[in-house]
Amino acid sequence: MTTAVDTENPDAAEQAAASPVPAAEDWRGVAAEDTEEVSAKGGVFLRARSRRLLGALIRPHRRAMLFATVLIIVVTGFEMCAPYLVSVGIDDGMPAVKHGDWTPIVLAAAGIGGSALLGSLLRLKFLTLAGRIGQDMLLALRRRVFQQFQALPIAFHEKYTSGRVISRLTNDLDALNDLINSSLDGLISALLNIVVIGTLLAVIDPMLSVIVLVCLPALGGLLVWYTKGSRVAYRQQRAAVAACIVQFVETLNGIRAVQSFRREVRNRDIFSKLNQDYVDANAKSMMMFGWFIPGIVAVGAIATASVLVFGGFQVMDGSLQVGLLTAYILYMRKFFDPMQDLAVFYTSYQSAAAALEKLSGVLEERPEVPEPTEPRELPEPVRGQITFEGVRFSYPKRDKDEAERVILPGLELEIPAGQTVALVGATGAGKSTLARLMCRFYDPIQGAVRLDGIDLRELRDRDLRKGVIMVTQENFLFSGSVADNIRFGRPEATDEQVEQAARAIGAHEFIARLPEGYQTDVKKRGGRLSAGQRQLVAFARAFLADPAVLILDEATSSLDVPSERLVQRALRTILADRTALIIAHRLSTVEIADRVLVMESGRIVEDGEPEALISAEVATGDAPSRFAALHEAWRESLV
C-alpha cells in the first residue's frame, strides 16, 4: 500500500528514501533506485517526447492508417444496419407479404445477410491491415531502441543496469504490442459504436433520445471514477507482481544458499506476504471493475425501462411504429455495451503509455561518448602508441548533491608502441579507469588520450575497436558454440584460425575435451564452463582479433595456477610485437612486463623496469619502493 503513496508523490518518496533511519524490520532494505522509474507513469496524456516518438512512428503509415479508418467506419456502418433492417422488415415487409408482395421482406433479409457478409469480410481486411501497421511500427521501434542501447556508452549502461535494458526491450515493447494487438481495435470500434449509434438513436426518435442524453453524465462520471481508481490499482499491481517475481527468481537462482542457510521458512513468510500483496492489488482492480460494469448495466436498465414506457406511449399515440421501438431498444443495448470496452482499453493503455514514456526517455538519451563528425583515419598498420595528455577524469555524479569524485587529477603518460606495461596499485587507485579511458569507454574531462597521435574522440568507433581491445575479469560468453565465441574476435576467421588462437593461449586442451569439442554449446548442460575456462576463451577471442593494443584488466584472476602459467607463457609471444597494458593484483603477470607503473590516488608514483623498481631500495638506501613492498607481500603470499 505504501508504494502507491510513494508513487503518487515522488517528492515524498524521495524524502522517505533519504531518511537516515529506515524501519529495521524491513528486510528489503533501502535503495536509491526505488523512486526512479515512477516519473514515467501511465496517465491519460503523454509527454511531449512520447508524442514526438509516436508521431515519428506513425508518419510512414499515414496513408494506410487513413484507409484503415475509412474501412472501420464502413464496417461499423454495415454491422449496424441489421436492427434497422429488421425493423424495416417488420414494419414494411409484413403488410406487403399480407398483400402477397414478397419484395420488401426479401430485400430486407438480403440486406441483412449481405451486410453481414460484407461487414465481416471488410473487418477481416481491417484487422489484418491494422495488425500490419501496428507490427511494422513495433518493429521500427524495436530496431530503434536496440540500436540506441548499443550506441549508448558503457557509462550509460553502468548507471542504467542490464536489468532495465532488458525490461525496456522486452516487457515494455510487449505492453505496446498488447495494446496494438487487442485493445486498439476494441477502442476504435467502441468509440465508433457509441458515436454512430448515438446519432442513429437521435435520428430514429429525438424525443426518446433525450432519455439517453440524460444518462450520459452518469456514464461519464462512472468512466472518470473508474479510470482514476484503476490507475492507482494498476500501479500497485505492477509493483506487487514485480516484487513477487524478484523474490521467486532470486530464491531459485540462489537455491544453494537458501537451502544451506535454512532460509526456507523465512522465505515462505516473505513470499506469502508478497503473494498476498499481489492478490490484494489484483482484488482492488477487480473490485473497481466489479462496480463499474454493474453501474453501466444499472444506468442502461433505467434508460431501457424509460424508453419502453415512453416509447410505448408514443406507439399508443401513433407517433412511433412498433418496429422502430424494437430497433431502438436493440440499438440501446449496443450503445451501453462498448462502455465496458473503453474500460478494458484503458487498462492496457496505461501500461502501454508508461512503456512509451520509458522508451522515449531512452531514445532521447544522447551518447556521452559521441561518434566524431569529422573522423580521422588511423595509419595502416596501427602502431599502438598511447599518449595520455593532461588527462583529468571523474565519474558522472549519481545525483546532483554528490561531491565530484576525481579519479585522475591530471595524468601524463606515454606508452611507446610495442611496450608491455604492468599497472599496479591498491583498489581504487584508478587503474581500471585508466584502462577504460584507453579504450574510450569514457572521455576525459580535460586533456586527451591519443592512439598513434590521434585523439580517440576523432576516431570512428569501428576503427578504434580494431586497434584497441580490452579483456576483463567479467568474461561474458554469448550463446552458441565455443568456436562462435572465439570467432567473436574476428567473425571472418576460419575454423583453423580459431583453433590456432585457442592453442596459442593454452585453451585447446580443455576445449577438445568438451562433449562436442569446439562445437559445444556454452549455454547448454555439459557446456557450462568454469570461470577460468571462460577467461581462457576470452583470451583466445582477443588474440584472434589481433589488435595493436591489448588491455588486460585483472584478466587472469580466475585462472588456477597451472592455467595462469600457461597464459603467461603464451602472453610472452603474443605481446612481443604489441602494446599492452596489464592490470593485476597478482604480480606474477608483472614479470613479463617491460615497464611497471605504480598508481596511487590517480597519480603514477613509480615508473620503471621491474628489476630496477624491486632493487630501488638498494639504490637509494631509503625505505623500499612501493613496488618492492607490494612485490614482497605478493611473494610472501606464495610461500
Binding site: P20, G29, V30, A31, A82, A109, S115, A116, G119, R123, L127, G131, R132, R143, F146, Q147, F149, Q150, I154, T161, V165, I166, T170, N177, N181, C244, V249, I255, A257, V258, S260, F261, R262, N267, F271, N275, A283, M287, I293, P294, V297, I302, A305, M316, V322, T427, L464, M470, F478, S479, F510, V561, P562, S563, L566, H585, E591, I592, S637, V639
Partner: protein, 613 residues
C-alpha cells in the same frame, strides 16, 4: 498445445483415475475446495442473471402484444417498472458475481502460487540445475493466471452457457419449431469453427511466445555482454542477428493476427446471417398469422441471447484446454519429489564436529560416470582441511555433499559419527555453514543477507562476522546495514560480495565451516587481513576449504590433493601438510607453487598438462 491424449478419450474425468482431456484440471479441485461455496454462489448468480436476461426480451414482447395493442397505460407503467427492476437486479447480480470472483479465484491463485514456491524451495539442487528459472517463472505467472481465468470464467460460463443454450433453444423451438430449428442448427457449426480456429490461434500464440523468448535471449545477451560487444566493436553483427529474429517475430505475429481476424469474421457473419433468415421466415410466419408480432420480436430478442453462448463456447473450450495444459505444467513441478528429504528416524547430532568421508562416490543425476570415487577423508574437530586439485575435478561438488545439497551416490558422509542422511536437515545445516565460490546476494538489506541463516543474530555477532570477513565497508554504504544490495539494490564489487558471503558463513560460529575458494576476488592487502581473522575462527571450528592459491591453503592444517583415480573419476591422491606436499609431491607443487623462474615453465607445463589430464 495439443492434448497428448487421443481424441477419442472421454472428456469427462472420472474421479478415481482421471485420464480424460481435463485430467490435470480435475486434479486442481483440492485448491477449489475451500472456495466451493463461493464458486457455487458465482455459478448461481451467473445463471440467475442469464435468466433475467431472458426475461427482459419477453417483457418487451409482452408490452407489444399487451398494452400497445389494448392501449392500457397503467399496464404499461407496471411492465416498465418490471423492466426496471429486472435490469437493476441484473446489475446487482453482476456485482455479486464480480465481488465473489475477486475473493475466491484470487485465493485459489494465491494458494497454488504459495504451494509452488514452497515446493520449489524444497526440491533439491539437482532439480534446479536442470530447470531454468525463466521456465519456472512462467509457470508461476502465466500458467497460474490461466488457471485463475478458468475457475473465474471458463468453468462457470461453460456450465451457464450450456444451460442457456439448451433452455433458450428449447424455448425457441417451442415458440416456433422452424425458426428455433434454424437457430440451433446454425449454432453448432459456429461453435465448431470457433473451436477449431481457436486451437490454431493457440498454436500461433505459442509460436509467438517462443519467438519472443528468442528475441529476449538476444536482448539479454546484448545487455549483459555490452562490454564485450563494445570492446570488439561488434554492434553491427549483433544488430543483424537481433533484426533477423525481430523480423521473424513480426511475421509470426501477423499470422496470429490473421487467425484472430478470421475468427472474428465468422463470429460477426454467422449471427447476422441467421438474423436475416429469421426476419424472412418470421415475417412470413407472422403475415400468415402463425406467429404474433410480439412473439416475433421476442423471438428475435431471445435469439440475441443465444449468440454469446454459441460464439463463446469455442473460446471457453479452448480456454479450458489451455488451463489444463497450464495445470499439467504446474503438476509437472509439484509431482517432482525431492530426493533429499528428512530421514524417517532422526538421530540427534551432538559432538565437536568431526567430519568423515567414508569411501564416498558421487555422480550427477542422469549421468552414470562417477565424478568422485573412493574418497576417504577425516577432519578432526577444530581441524581445517584444504582441498586442492585441478579445475573441474570436483572440489566444489565434494563440499556440496556436507550440507546435503547433493547426496552421495556411494559411501557415507559422517558428522560426529552419524551419517548426514540420518540427521534432520535443519540440524545439519545449522551446524554446517557455507560460503560458495559464487557469492549469492539477495535483493534485500545487508543485514538480511548477512543473517540469512540466523535471523536471531545479535549486533555483537554481526559485528564480529563483519570484522572476520573484513566487510566493515557495509557501514559506509548510504544506509549502512539497511542498504539494499543484490540485483535490485546497490551493486557491490566482486570482492565486496565475497566478503559479505564470508561474513554470512562465519556468523554465529557454526560447528563446521565449508568455504569454496573464499578469497579469490580479494586484493592482496585485504586477503591478508581476512586470512588473519579467519584463522582465529578456524582454530575453533572444523573447516573444509577449497583452495586455488597458496595463501588460502595456509588457512588449513592439512591438505588433501584431488586427482584422477585409476578407474576414472576423481579421488584423493595425496594428503599432508602444505610443506610436506611441496617437498614430496610434484603434482601439488605444480598446482600451487608459482615459480617466478620462467625458465622452469617448460617442464612444469608438461606436468600441468599431465595433472589436468
Amino acid at each position: 498445445m495439443p492434448s497428448p491424449l487421443p481424441p477419442g478419450s472421454s472428456p469427462v474425468p472420472s474421479p478415481p483415475k482421471p485420464t480424460g482431456q481435463f485430467a490435470s484440471l480435475w486434479r486442481l479441485r483440492r485448491y477449489a475446495q475451500p472456495y466451493r461455496g463461493k464458486l457455487v454462489v458465482m455459478f448461481a448468480v451467473a445463471l440467475a442473471s442469464t435468466l433475467i436476461g431472458v426475461a427482459v426480451p419477453l417483457l418487451t414482447s409482452t408490452v407489444i402484444n399487451g398494452p400497445l395493442r389494448t392501449g392500457d397505460r397503467d399496464a404499461l407503467w407496471l411492465l416498465g417498472l418490471y423492466a426496471l427492476l429486472f435490469g437493476l437486479a441484473e446489475a446487482v447480480l453482476i456485482l455479486t458475481r464480480r465481488l465473489t470472483l475477486a475473493s475466491s479465484v484470487l485465493g485459489i491463485e494465491r494458494d497454488i502460487r504459495d504451494d509452488l514456491y514452497e515446493h520449489l524451495q524444497h526440491l533439491d539442487v539437482g532439480f534446479h540445475d536442470s530447470w531454468q528459472s525463466g521456465q519456472l517463472v512462467s509457470r508461476m505467472t502465466s500458467d497460474i493466471s490461466s488457471i485463475r481465468r478458468f475457475f473465474g470464467f471458463a468453468l462457470i460460463f461453460l456450465v451457464v452457457n450450456s444451460i442457456t443454450f439448451v433452455s433458450v433453444g428449447v424455448l425457441l423451438i417451442a415458440i416456433d419449431p422452424l425458426l428455433g430449428g434454424i437457430v440451433v442448427l446454425f449454432g453448432v457449426p459456429l461453435s465448431i469453427v470457433v473451436f477449431r480456429y481457436e486451437k490454431v490461434y493457440r498454436r500461433n500464440i505459442r509460436a509467438v511466445q517462443d519467438q519472443q523468448g528468442e528475441v529476449a535471449t538476444d536482448v539479454e545477451e546484448s545487455a549483459l555482454g555490452i562490454r564485450a560487444i563494445k570492446s570488439f566493436g561488434r554492434r553491427d553483427l549483433f544488430f543483424s542477428r537481433y533484426d533477423d529474429k525481430a523480423v521473424h517475430l513480426r511475421t509470426l505475429q501477423l499470422r496470429q493476427i490473421r487467425t484472430l481476424a478470421q475468427i472474428w469474421a465468422w463470429i460477426i457473419a454467422q449471427p447476422q446471417t441467421v438474423l436475416a433468415l429469421l426476419t424472412l421466415f418470421g415475417v412470413a410466419a407472422t403475415a400468415s398469422g402463425k406467429l404474433s408480432l410480439g412473439t416475433l420480436v421476442a423471438f428475435v430478442a431471445l435469439y440475441q441471447m443465444l449468440i454469446w453462448p454459441i460464439e463463446s463456447s469455442g473460446w471457453l473450450l479452448a480456454a479450458s484446454q489451455e488451463a489444463n495444459t497450464a495445470a499439467e505444467r504446474i503438476f509437472e513441478v509439484l509431482d517432482t519429489q525431492p530426493t533429499i528429504v528428512e530421514p524417517d528416524a532422526v538421530r540427534p547430532s551432538t559432538g565437536a564436529g568431526r567430519l568423515e568421508f567414508e569411501n564416498v562416490g558421487f555422480s550427477y543425476p542422469g549421468s552414470d560416470e562417477l565424478l568422485l570415487t573412493g574418497i576417504n577423508l577425516v577432519i578432526e574437530p577444530g581441524e581445517t582441511l584444504a582441498v586442492v586439485g585441478p579445475t573441474g575435478c570436483g572440489k566444489t561438488t565434494l563440499t556440496s555433499l556436507v550440507p546435503r545439497l547433493y547426496d552421495v551416490t556411494e559411501g557415507r558422509v559422517l558428522l560426529d559419527g552419524v551419517d548426514v542422511r540420518e540427521l534432520s536437515l535443519a540440524d545439519l545445516r545449522t551446524r554446517v555453514a557455507c560460503a560458495f565460490e559464487d557469492p549469492t546476494l539477495f535483493s534485500a538489506s545487508v543485514r538480511e543477507n548477512l543473517a540469512l541463516g540466523r535471523p536471531d543474530a545479535d549486533e555483537e555477532q554481526v559485528a564480529e562476522a563483519l570484522r572476520v570477513a573484513q566487510a566493515q565497508y557495509v557501514h559506509d554504504l548510504p544506509w549502512g546495514l539497511d542498504t539494499r544490495v543484490g540485483e535490485q539494490g546497490m551493486s557491490l564489487s566482486g570482492g565486496q560480495r565475497q566478503r559479505l558471503a564470508l561474513a554470512r558463513a562465519v556468523l554465529g560460529r557454526p560447528t563446521m565451516l565449508v568455504l569454496d575458494d573464499p578469497l579469490s576476488a580479494l586484493d592482496i592487502h585485504t586477503e591478508g587481513l581476512v586470512e588473519q581473522a579467519l584463522r582465529s575462527v578456524l582454530s575453533e571450528t572444523t573447516g573444509l576449504v577449497v583452495a586455488h592459491r597458496p595463501s588460502t591453503v595456509l588457512l588449513a592444517d592439512r591438505v588433501a590433493v584431488l586427482g584422477p583415480a585409476p578407474g576414472g573419476g576423481t579421488t584423493v591422491v595425496a594428503e599432508g601438510t602444505h610443506h610436506e606436499l611441496l617437498e614430496t609431491n610434484a603434482v601439488y607443487r605444480d598446482l600451487l607453487s608459482q615459480s617466478s623462474e620462467l625458465a622452469e615453465l617448460a617442464d612444469l607445463t608438461d606436468l600441468a598438462e599431465e595433472a589436468v589430464r
